[in-house]
């Protein structure tokens, strides 16, 4: 007898847990592969899934097995030319012992390859932005279009049928019935007692007319009591739920990129990579974060995402123009009391002669007091210039909200990015 069962609708992810266990165990390897991948990829497909390879020796499960050497005999199929007594030179490498006992040889053979597998885009991004956060995200505010959650708020007389509170409804119906029929019941009881008294009298003394009348009264009282409805409209009670807005943190990130003529193609590319990472990170981990893109050469301009990453406009350099624009936007659109404000600036450090001191002044006086965090990356393989020196001073004064890092080549971007936004232990 056979039973045939269709199991196709059962879950097909029986191995999910085991897969997760594996990823968990080899976290470090995967993180390294992810960080390598971030560096090597072109900007447009930076957020795809990734092929991870781990050296086999790191994930091998050791067992006792025979090593090479000793006396091995083996039987092989497909003899073409040998007769017994033939001598064959040992194959080069010799590790497998001429395919002798099979198992030992293949164990070592497999050891050469890396273990390769695929992680999804989702997992890739998870690993990419693991342990990162926006620092000092503290202001929580009720803003205009909040999310709400429902909260119980007692009992009400109105509501939808789905929300009827049965116990309370029946209780109030009961109370109403008692209240409406109390007097009548008392009267009824009295009449009944009187009637019983009359009935108990000697038949000669019975007043039949009176009895008749009392019976009529009793019947009409009973009728009136019965006419009180068991459940009335206004007995119904409903559970009341009220909407309550959830306060949430609003954040805005200002991305300031230098596109002046001194920034060559490579430096611009690196700056863009940095901002792409930042942008992906914000999109993924902070749903309600706004991003303001500012490009600047001699003058600054607020642009959209497309233009920020792909426009080719260029010119001289006045860094302070961007900071001024940032201040302007900040003052008009993002009140400090409501918004968590962040800034990230990328430049090659080249600036108009005395503009650097203006920059640090704007930062220290106008911006930093309002900001949660400001990071500056300088993309240059050369010596630092005036802007870096000025910013050093800023850092000395505003150490906890200001960070600066230097990027020399592409492989620095991801580590620097992690450094800047690393989750700080509380």
């Amino acid at each position: 007898m056979s039973y045939i069962i269709d199991r196709r609708l059962n879950s097909k992810n029986k191995s999910t847990v085991n897969r997760q266990r594996f990823l968990r165990r080899y976290r470090k390897h995967i993180q390294k592969a992810v960080s390598d991948a971030v560096t090597q990829r072109s900007i447009t497909d930076i957020d795809k899934g990734e092929q991870i390879s781990i050296p086999s020796k790191d994930i091998s499960e050791p067992v006792f097995h025979h090593g090479s050497g000793g006396l091995g005999t083996g039987v092989l199929p497909g003899n073409k030319e040998f007769v017994s007594g033939d001598k064959i030179p040992r194959p080069p490498g010799g590790a497998g012992g001429g395919g002798g006992s099979g198992s030992g040889a293949s164990d070592q053979g497999e050891g050469m390859d890396d273990f390769v597998f695929q992680i999804t885009q989702e997992e890739f991004l998870d690993f990419m932005f693991e342990d990162l956060e926006l620092p000092n995200l503290v202001k929580r505010q009720l803003s205009g279009n909040e999310e709400f959650k429902m909260r119980r708020a007692g009992i009400s007389n109105e509501g939808s049928p789905g929300r009827i509170n049965i116990v309370r409804s029946l209780r109030s119906a009961n109370a109403r019935r008692i209240a409406l029929t109390g007097g009548k019941r008392r009267k009824l009881k009295e009449l009944e007692a009187e009637l019983a008294e009359q009935e108990a009298l000697d038949p000669l003394l019975k007043d039949h007319r009176k009895i008749e009348k009392m019976m009529q009264q009793i019947a009409s009282l009973r009728g009136r009591i019965n006419r009180v409805p068991w459940l009335d409209d206004f007995d119904l009670k409903y559970n009341l739920h009220v909407k309550e807005p959830i306060p949430r943190s609003k954040a805005v990130m200002f991305c300031l990129m230098d596109v002046s003529g001194s920034m060559n193609q490579a430096t611009k590319d690196m700056a863009k990579r940095f901002f792409i990472l930042l942008y992906l990170f914000l999109q993924r981990n902070y749903e309600h974060t706004e991003v303001v893109f500012i490009r600047h050469h001699t003058s600054a301009k607020e642009v959209d995402e497309q233009e920020f990453f792909y426009s080719r406009e260029t010119g001289g350099t006045i860094v302070s123009s961007a900071l001024k624009l940032m201040k302007e936007i900040l003052d008009t659109r993002y009140p400090v009391s409501e918004w968590n404000i962040y800034g990230a600036q990328a430049s090659d450090g080249d600036n108009w002669n005395d503009d650097s001191s203006t920059c640090s002044k704007i930062l220290m006086q106008d911006l930093l007091p309002k900001l949660q965090y400001y990071s500056y990356i300088e993309i240059t393989p050369r010596d630092h210039q005036a802007l870096w020196e000025e910013y050093r001073e800023v850092q000395a004064n505003f150490g906890d909200v200001f960070a600066m890092q230097q990027i020399v080549n592409v492989s620095d971007i991801y580590p620097v990015f992690r450094e800047l936004f690393h989750k700080k232990a509380v």
Partner: protein, 532 residues
Amino acid sequence: MSNPDDAPQNESVESPLRSNPISETSEWSFELIEEYDRAIAEIAKGYKLDTYPNQIEVISSEQMMDAYASVGMPLGYHHWSYGKQFLNIEQSYNRGQMGLAYEIVINSNPCIAYLMEENTMTMQALVIAHACYGHNSFFKGNYLFRAWTDADSIIDYLLFAKNYIAECESRYGIDEVESLIDSCHALMNYGVDRYKRPYPISAEEERQRQKEREEYLQKQVNDLWRTIPTAEEDKAEAEKIHFPPEPEENLLYFIEKNAPLLEPWQREVVRIVRKIAQYFYPQRQTQVMNEGWATFWHYTLLNTMYDRGLVTEGFILEFLQSHTSVIYQPPYDSPYYSGINPYTLGFSMMCDLRRICENPTDEDRHWFPDIAGSDWLETLHFAMQNFKDESFILQFLSPKVMRDLKLFCIVDDDQKREIEVSAIHDEMGYQKVREALAGQYNLGNREPNIQVHKVDIRGDRSLTLQHIQYNRKPLGKSTEEVLKHVHRLWGFDVHLHSVQDDTVSASYHCPPQPETSTEDLEVALPVIGWGI
């Protein structure tokens, strides 16, 4: 083009043989599977195949990958190594480097077999014949399975194991449990009793007795490790105690019962891994026979169907095509060569057994006087029931099969400069090739023989293992790594001596020791001999 309604009529007129095929297209449906199964069952009954009831499950390819990754267990505890397996399979499947398993069948009662939904009707019938009647009857009939595994309770037990380990994880943390299982897996091949029949495992009993066992076990362990001296003269006595009195081959069993520091739940986990290893032990010893038997029967059953006109010519051609690719044996010098194909060897031997019974030659009469000319069905059943790979080959590998497969035997002696061809498929070589091939399927030769030799119960509590070399073969590179796992389980120093002809040729220690002094070896020597 042609009207599909015409086809069956035409064919039935044409040939009375194929008067009544069950189906004509390659599409399957549940009704068809049922019908094929019924037909195959009936034929199988005619061949006296005795099976457990079948539970045929239709699954998708993703589910097949899952089943594959959990090494054929329908439910298993969670462990990263199964995840690794899964990722590996997923990767090679997605890149088209590998087709999915032909079939997976589970030795349980009822016997569970999986059919993949994208297969054609022919393939489904092939898998039904192969798994549900071939493997199934082997599981039920072979002496190893009868003696060592309990098909009725395995599913229950696996469920118990899964739940128990999940509970341990929530109580003691995933990492803790994971590293324990790592260590147990490293010794899994040394967690089987080779000679004594284990208790049948049953989940119900496990649950009931587990608590009891925990306490009892711990008490025993405590007794063993009691260090308070009872009297002065005991000390001299104690030094003479050799524990264990007999060497123990089941390392996991020994650890479960005697490791000083394991918590009760850890002993239970060791036991679970050990029990599962035991369950798979017969399968590892009967690969050639099991696959050969199943392949022989799918071949015989489906051909019988064809003879009775139950399947079409298209069906049988599709079947033969995949059958031949399954039993293809690449020669030793082919890039596709990866050892002897158990399907080929098993199938050739089974077919040849039938031939020897039905059409014996003089050679057969000389080599197999007992069975030449006997009833083939009886002989085949006898062979299936009473042998394992090693003894099966030793008993039944015929000169014809050796000639067909062109088997030859090489001797690779590291003390000589060249590899020698010691025997080929000729009159002088048959016996030798046969013996060498049988030896190749002896698990005892394939795996290093390592046993618990001694525990220093009154001293530093160190555990000494002994490897008795087979043909001077040394231990492989991962030995140190495995010892670390033994050390984790045992909790104190672990030593492993590799012994050849009563001399220690290599020693491994965990934690590593700088250099073993010769003094130690001399002390160890006198007691080493009796381990063999």
